[in-house]
Point group: C2
Chain length 301, copies 2
């Protein structure tokens, strides 16, 4: 695995191995559940270590490898991105937000630990992402600072928290596809883009490669948010491993385009993203393979 | 003001001028209230720009100046520390935490904007602290990464959020002074220490100076938390500009030592802190002057 040019591509076994390494490292990067403050540590571990697809850290790792960075040097950056994601899920699920009961097949963090501890755990996970990036010994100071700036832009008012404000307060009253797409991008797409950008930054990829990767990530993020809306509308809590029908009464891609139209739109974005990758100078076939594989279960919806 | 060795000390007019500059810069560093997402921006500005003593950013600025850093180069680092403080206040005041109605003479952020927006604003302020540090053009990349790491350690489970867990869940059942002091330190002292350390880091002070400054900050933080407990027990909402009697029924310095004993303990810590300063190599009289002045109104309690 040390050679980023090992040609292993994104075969399922390789992805599984990468995911396992991410899971191991995530567990190392959080404080032990045996040490005080116990509740906080347990809540952070509950939220972060529950089985997940790890799509974002895998994107960071695959991007870094494709851009020539070996030896797992982007692993901590990848884990930081997953921490940001987990923090955003804890917050989104809170009673004053989406009020969700299940996430990743287990009780949401506030159901398991109480609202106060869940709120502290969300802040703790976001904070741990910055701790991980700022303290990463594998990367030089310039790259560490750049990664912190990237995450800050991703989380901020033009990113996750801005998208969440729209989702909570405005989405029910908006029905034009363009506005919905813009805020879906802030809610989900920016973190997908950041995941890819983090890999490229860690590998110090040139600007042309980074722009192409950004185009890929943008389409991937759009596809992912659309698939998420489809899962909410069409799946079961058992299959989705989280609450569904949270969007009922709202305009989503499914109400706009129907099931087949939505599926076509998702796959259209995936293919457009893969076309962008062809412009990158890093021979990014494994990334394209991973992207396509990530949406393979779409046909079951 | 450009010359850190200008000998102005910490005369009240100088402190007022520094505070004004901090307030101006804080307003610049947040997104405009006129731009979307409006509610989020307004809530962040509500929480951060309400009139405050700005003790922490003043400590950062005074420390940096004493350590030889001129030209306001620590201003953004100082503002980042105040953002962390404001974020912690918004969270502490939430209904699932201390459930406070007034802060800094105005409604708490969740009272003014709702719980959901307040929670996003708190995350937004913490995040903006990192954005400010990671993107600060006045400091080199190594210092920016070091400041991000400092803030991360300050906020994390061994700092603010750990202290808050104790305060919410354990403090009511604990009555030994040592445990209370340890968690009071995590809840308040760590950010005082970080404020001073940020100034020293920005100025790249030597390790001996930093250790002495840390000793000063530790005593100052202890004094400040004790004074805060005294204000809660003895002041009025009008004078304190926030809810009081939140600690009723708990063991605090006031129940342990009485009013005079508490006042002596606070002033004892201030003087011990100033004695630590004498060990610093930076001729830190203005810092000592500022520290003493900050506790001058203690006699009114």
């Amino acid at each position: 695995m040390d050679d980023p040019g090992d040609g292993l591509g994104a075969a399922p076994a390789v992805i599984d191995a990468l995911r396992l390494r991410v899971d191991e490292r995530l567990a190392q990067l959080l404080p032990s559940a045996d040490k005080p403050p116990h509740r906080l540590h347990r809540a952070m571990r509950h939220a972060l270590l529950a089985p997940g697809k790890r799509m974002r850290p895998l994107l960071t790792l695959l991007t870094a490898r494709q851009c020539g960075l070996g030896d797992w040097r982007a692993l901590d950056a990848a884990c930081a991105i997953e921490m940001v994601h987990a923090a955003s899920l804890v917050l989104d699920d809170m009673p004053c937000m989406d009020d969700a009961a299940m996430r990743r097949g287990q009780p949401t963090t506030h159901k398991a630990f109480g609202e106060d501890i869940a709120m502290l755990a969300a802040v703790g996970l976001l904070n741990q992402a910055y701790a991980t990036l700022a303290g990463c010994s594998e990367l030089d100071a310039r790259t560490r600072a750049a990664l912190c700036a990237l995450v800050a832009a991703t989380v901020g008012p033009n990113g996750l928290i801005g998208g969440q404000e729209f989702d909570l307060r405005d989405r029910g009253s908006v029905d034009d596809p363009e506005t919905i797409a813009r805020f879906n991008h802030a809610k989900t797409g920016v973190l997908m883009e950041a995941a890819v950008e983090a890999g490229a930054l860690a590998a110090r990829a040139d600007i042309r490669t980074r722009l192409a990767l950004r185009g890929f990530a943008r389409h991937l993020g759009d596809a992912f948010q659309m698939m998420d809306d489809m899962i909410d509308a069409l799946s079961t809590p058992e299959a989705a491993r989280k609450d569904v029908r949270k969007d009922e009464g709202r305009t989503t891609i499914v109400t706009l385009f129907g099931v087949k139209g939505s599926r076509d739109a998702v796959l259209g974005h995936v293919e457009k993203g893969c076309a962008e990758l062809a412009r990158a100078r890093c021979g990014a076939d494994p990334l394209a393979g991973f992207a396509r594989a990530s949406f393979a279960h779409l046909v079951q919806l």
